[in-house]
Point group: C2
Chain length 407, copies 2
């Protein structure tokens, strides 16, 4: 049995926590399993390094930022290897390059192009526990490249795929994936098993336990994930191909996201190419658009609304101002006091009436729906920010999620 265990920044935030992580890894190893560890940088290290660069340059080059930031994971991996050795384990820290993680060379947002697991296999065969610096790999020219957001999770899944590991455990500061945010819904329960697709929807809907990118990679290579806490021994949530959930439950979770702003354009011309012009302009400014709604045509004109993250609102409004005339819009408006609430479940595909049940629950709770977007396994509604907590609770009740979990 070969396990990949990934520990995030808060799990290795200080020397004491690093020692506790080492004890956990060593316990796993002593059950006879082979273990490869992947670590993030300690606590706020990455932010501290970014601040340091900010003192020197307002627009630091991505290549140099990668040389700089990659040291964070190199430090934590070396320290964890030392902590393992202190327990009597044989351990060896490896940078991304040493671990054979090759990328496409895109500084700051590299994609892993391949894993060459020769050294990892050698170290494992030699009885060692490799401790891999997450978030990084080496580009075609020998330069260090970081993987961008969700990088360490992605490293863990890629290493697990490259080695054909039996399981990739993602240790974090929560017990697993919940049916809703326990801070909003105290009776929220942990989901024991969930499918990749459901996890992808939850991950992209603000339940940020796992980065969607790592879930996609896990799905592609069939790597079984377990999300669990680094602070206790609770079993966590298994993410795998065949959720098991999808037959049993219509809805497996309620997600919410407050980092949402809505932009609306009025009376846009109803002509081919108009939407393209608007969203191409947004893409050119690297604004990630989430939901897009286009209402029914009225008098040859349309209303178009879309949502973006609040960080991107300023850029989105600048784009709206810029394209207003070319798309013939009479004006635009925005609202950054909104939130998104979503239900996710593979069971939806085969069960009609889920959307109706969702809208009923929101209506009963007195929550007004401003925008709706659906996919095969999720339904999202934009509502007032102040009503998000009430909406999440109402939906959690409606779909009986408190009774979901058996743990």
């Amino acid at each position: 049995m070969l396990f990949v265990q990934k520990f995030g920044g808060s799990s290795v935030g200080d020397p004491e926590r690093i020692k506790r992580v080492a004890e956990r890894v060593w316990r796993t190893r002593q059950t006879g399993k082979e273990v490869v560890v992947v670590v993030s940088a300690m606590g706020d290290t990455t932010d501290d390094l970014i601040a340091l660069a900010g003192e020197i340059s307002g627009e630091p080059a991505a290549r140099e930022m990668d040389q700089l930031l990659s040291t964070g994971e190199q430090v934590s991996s070396a320290l964890l290897a030392l902590a393992l050795q202190r327990l009597g384990a044989e351990a060896v820290s490896l940078t991304g390059q040493q671990a054979g993680i090759f990328t496409d060379g895109a500084y700051g947002k590299a994609a892993i192009s391949r894993i060459d697991p020769v050294r990892l296999r050698e170290e494992i065969a030699g009885g060692k526990i490799p401790v891999v610096a997450g978030f990084q790999g080496v580009g075609p020219g020998g330069d260090i490249t970081t993987l961008g957001r969700g990088g360490s999770d992605t490293t863990a899944v890629a290493v697990a795929a490259g080695l054909g590991a039996d399981c990739c455990e993602i240790y974090t500061d929560v017990d697993g994936v919940y049916t809703a945010d326990p801070r909003l819904v105290p009776e929220a329960s942990k989901i024991p098993v969930i499918s990749y697709d459901e996890m992808l929807e939850l991950a992209s809907l603000g339940a940020v336990v796992l980065h969607p990118r790592s879930v996609e990679l896990a799905k592609m290579f069939g790597v079984q994930l377990i999300v669990r806490s680094s602070f206790n021994d609770n079993p966590g949530t298994i993410v795998k191909g065949d959720g098991g959930m999808e037959k049993a439950y219509m809805v497996s979770g309620v997600a919410h996201d407050l980092n949402v702003a809505k932009v609306g354009l009025f009376d846009v011309m109803d002509q081919p190419g108009i939407a393209h012009r608007l969203f191409a302009a947004l893409a050119a400014e690297k604004v990630n658009v989430d939901m897009i709604i286009q209402g029914a045509t009225r008098d040859g004109r349309n209303d178009i609304a879309f949502t973006v993250s609040r960080d991107d609102l300023k850029k989105a409004l600048a784009v709206a101002e810029g394209v207003k005339e070319t798309i013939g819009a009479k004006g635009y408006t925005y609202d950054d006091q909104v939130g998104k609430v979503s239900i996710v479940g593979a069971g939806m595909i085969t069960r009609p009436g889920v959307a109706a049940a969702m809208f009923e629950a929101l209506s009963t709770a007195g929550v007004n729906i401003e925008m709706i977007s659906t996919s095969e396994i999720k339904i999202s509604c934009i509502i007032k920010e102040t009503e998000v907590a009430r909406a999440v609770k109402a939906l959690h009740d409606k779909f009986g999620l408190a009774e979901l979990s058996d743990t």
Copy 2:
């Protein structure tokens, strides 16, 4: 013209200092010279990382310490590259591995085995200023290895040798090499030109402006060194093959060292192999012995005294206790309240009476000499710690060193 410029930890101690270093490098570049920069870790970074490892493990493995400590120079090189780019320079930070610095693989104390300057040459040809992380290189298996003490100076000299640079400037916090420590001798003057051999003696005698190892390497490859301040534009001290000094001056400098302890063994048997047994035992414990004195034989017995650094005194005494009986010593003693004062000068070789002049000066100053050791270009005396400052002043006067410098 190709210049290698090396900046130590205090020169890059914070973002403001890094910006000032960048301005200096950029000025050099703008005179039309090609420049390669080598940097140490920022300020106390290395000590901080060592302390962090110390919180985790009492005996951290050298391999992991190298993975850990090498990040310090990676950070400072990336930040300096950013600072150069901000000025409009094209710069690129390089780890030891990226700069083609290959070592013998000895963790914590690696020797550079070769420089493969392909990438450095490419970057220079492309108009870039490479900023190389000092103190590190890659070992045969792809592991990061640090170069131990004097590592960044050694990197700079090795890179200069590998590229056939015209000059290797070592920037530090003093103006150059002085005829004595200016804190003890206010009238001490800067030495404009000094030979490798004299510099080697000074460097190994406690005048730690340059690590002896880098001077040896410079001598081997004929790399001209300039030691100068990173805080002003004074010309510094040139270190090169033919000192020029050796013809003009008997003595070029007075050095002193307070990190000295003396150990004496009484009435050792006067037999072949006795000294070997003692010093082999010390070497086995990795105790570096500096001076060794064996007195005249009396009744078939000898006194043997030697000096070590104060850090090594405890180990040295343990060895003395261990071998006492096998070498037939009646007992041993030690004194850690001593210091070493030395005069250095290539001119000594051809001028008799220098030793006599030294002893006369010390005697006139009322300084008692406890041990004497000589080489072709230096004479060292062990004296009471409390008399070191007086002795240095007396020797500086005696050999007219205040008038030496023309700057």
